[in-house]
Symmetry: C2
Subunit: 118 residues, 2 copies
């Protein structure tokens, strides 16, 4: 896959790259940045929250809608949203009583690049 | 992205899909399965280990090589490898003194499908 080939700092350029993850072995700083995002995602409820926000397309989603769809309380939603915003996976905008959230595309692009195995 | 389009069980096929994560909002069982894999990956050293294993292509990698490349002890490597194997991200095969590890492609395909935002 082209994304994996942009950077060819592989230890052995002649190796079979069909299973390569990322463009090159991760360095410490990059691994720490990705780990923060994965840790925020590595929770079943936050994964469901993220999938609901993202299923709305590029538009922001009101926390009030998530309360209804997922059937969990507003404080619980707020707790999970805070973790996702802190990890840079969502942005938050207050509109009146409710916060609205939008997916940070670049964050997912980075994660997907790491996971590319083609 | 073609991988994301294989399954078209979108809740609302007419919605703007440019930011959609996964084919549809995650159900509980799927979210739990993905969370286990993400949790195993959400550690800087394990991310570096995974990227080194995968950078070797589809071939298995000896734990002895990881000890050299990453400059960490054999027990530490074993600890991290155990977590990655338990999460279904690597398979392990013992060959004499050393274990050899191989990437489980299907596990990364599932994670990548979830993260697809195109």
């Amino acid at each position: 896959m082209s994304i994996a080939m942009e950077d060819t700092k592989l230890g052995d350029a002649s190796s079979d790259e069909c299973c390569s993850l990322a463009a090159a072995p991760l360095q410490v700083a990059e691994s720490e940045r990705i780990a923060v995002k994965l840790k925020a995602l590595a929770d079943p409820m936050r994964l469901r929250v993220m999938s609901h926000v993202a299923a709305q397309g590029c538009e922001s989603v009101c926390a009030c809608d998530l309360v209804d769809v997922l059937g969990i309380s507003q404080p619980t939603i707020s707790h999970h949203m805070k973790k996702l915003v802190e990890a840079g996976l969502l942005t938050r905008e207050q509109r009146g009583k409710w916060a609205h959230y939008t997916v940070v595309r670049e964050a997912f692009t980075e994660l997907r690049r790491f996971l590319t195995l083609d």
